[in-house]
Amino acid sequence: MKRFFLGVILAMSCVSPALADDFDPANGWGTSFMRFTGTYLHGNTERPLSPAAGGAVRPAGSPNTTKGSYNNVELAFDLYGFFDQTIFGTFLGGEMSTALGSHGQTSFDTPVATDPAKSKGGTWFKFDFAFDFDVLHFKKGPVAARLVGGLGTGFEYDARRWYLADRNESWRGYTIALARLQVWVREIGFHGSIHYLPNISGAYKQRESRTELCATFGSFAAGVRLNRLSIWTPGVAVPAVGVPAVPGSLVAAKDDKFSQTEFGVFGAYGF
């Protein structure tokens, strides 16, 4: 136990061995690395119409959803490490991730019936951690690989995100189930990961996934990210055509599903 937390502290103190040259996944416990990441994402969203303050009137024939887009930038600091192993050779460790970002104002295709106060950009922050299990790993000649699974939890603060602002919430908690495949051929690596994040707080049922594909060379990495979010509304009746909706409520049918997709590029430096 003490060795586990000592490993985390060592990693946070930049004393741990570097990943780039001497990393051996088949002999990998005790290895850890940190990563600074910069990301740009372009977001597309289809969300329920939210009436303007004072009660907007839903025009005849209008849909109850609108599409829009926005830009998002973020800086992240991640920490990964394995510090112990089971009797069957599974490496045990953890990962922590903190990110600070900002998303711009959303531009809507049909802005007339959308509450401007719920379309503004804003700064956001997230923190999460997970227990990692390196269940498969090998190294043969110049090729090395590992498959990691993990479980964890985290929270996100974002007072301007529409699905939070619409319910007068500013943060949400979520659980994490993750899988990560890493393959190296000498110093060139290919990493793919997916994080599945169902929320554990808030008024909406949210299912979010974060997918990352990247190539690494030594300490540098570059790749693409895809974040997908699906939301089920708590069930607010669609107002009849021509009838003012209640301000602050979603103009959505019960169990309607809405989506948000972010896609972009990132660059990282690991050490």
Binding site: M1, T86, I87, T90, L92
Partner: protein, 317 residues
């Protein structure tokens, strides 16, 4: 799709995953001979000796009955399918317990309530609380408690039941929910030790579409419409209490037997739909290798003659 076909596919997929993982690990052991691996492990040699070390079990299971095996009047028995995860001496349980104790230690403060007195003063009722300052020794013990808990070794098990794996219908009702156990295991010192486990237990299972025969079911006697014909009712099972388990080797490291009893402190059923039984399970563990296992067990609740069964295939990591 026929029910048996679904069970067959679930079991086949589980075994395929297990076999694939075995080949992968076998590959690793080949490297062990070359010095790449840190811990060489001989296949099928550990048996019940595994409980002395840190490991995980992940398995997929399917069966019928379980905690609902004593429910009378069902047209079809309640089915189960899901995933079981066991952590032996792992960090998730250490960390979770440590955080809980650290939270309690933080809330304890440096004063202890020794008593209260309530008295009437005119139109007011006044309560006076009396505290004493904790001694330095007590404060040191409180401060050391989280670390002591994290230094301990625990065994944790989570069974997640999902009606989504096989699909729940009135002809094949499936339970959803979970069973959670967290405790400790005492093992003998032999190479194939017998072991005794105790654990805190909490379970919550739900069956939304249990089909009962006419005149049967929890609401059959309460005048619920439909009770005079085949009808669907909702059942829940809640368990809060103590789990006791005894496990022993039968044939070397290949075959083990176990018996488990959930003692439910919630007492009598809370209404006829919310069951609070004491499931007793007994069965076998077959170790195809150190890392691949199968489990089969039967279960009864109380003195019911209805016996449930569960089959599981899994891997150890």
């Amino acid at each position: 799709m026929p029910c048996k076909t679904r069970y067959f596919r679930l079991t086949t997929c589980s075994l395929a995953v297990a076999i694939a993982l075995t080949f992968a690990y076998t590959e690793k052991e080949a490297h062990a001979e070359n010095g790449d691996r840190m811990i060489p492990i001989t296949v099928s040699a550990i048996g019940t000796g595994r409980y002395a070390g840190r490991f995980y079990e992940v398995g997929a299971f399917s069966g019928v009955g379980g905690p609902f095996s004593n429910v009378k009047g069902l047209v079809n028995p309640i089915g189960f399918s899901g995933v079981r995860v066991l952590e032996n001496q792992g960090y998730v349980s250490k960390f979770s317990l440590g955080m809980l104790v650290a939270l309690a230690a933080g809330m304890a403060g440096d004063k202890q309530l020794t008593g209260s007195k309530t008295e009437r003063r005119g139109d007011y009722i006044v309560r006076t609380d009396y505290y004493r300052q904790r001694t330095p020794e007590e404060m040191a013990a409180i401060a050391a408690a989280p670390g002591a808990v994290m230094d301990g070794e625990y065994i944790m098990e989570l069974n997640v039941y999902s009606s989504g794996f096989l699909g729940s219908t009135k002809d094949r009702p499936q339970a959803s929910g979970f069973e959670f156990y967290l405790g400790d295991r005492i093992t003998s010192s032999s190479s194939q030790p017998v072991s005794f486990q105790w654990a805190f237990a909490y379970s919550k299972l739900t069956v939304s579409d249990a089909l009962f025969k006419a005149g049967q079911g929890p609401n059959a006697t309460t005048g619920t419409p439909g009770a005079t014909a085949e009808h669907i009712e909702k059942l829940t099972y809640t368990n809060l209490g103590l789990m006791l388990e005894f496990q022993a080797p039968i044939i070397g490291s290949y075959l083990e037997g176990f018996a488990r009893w959930d003692l439910n402190v919630l007492g009598k059923n809370n209404g006829q739909q919310d069951l609070h039984g004491h499931p007793f399970r007994a069965g076998l563990v077959v170790n195809a290798s150190d890392r691949i296992f199968g489990r089969a067990y039967g279960s009864v609740v109380g003195f019911s003659t209805n016996v449930g069964w569960v089959l599981e295939a899994g891997v150890r990591l």
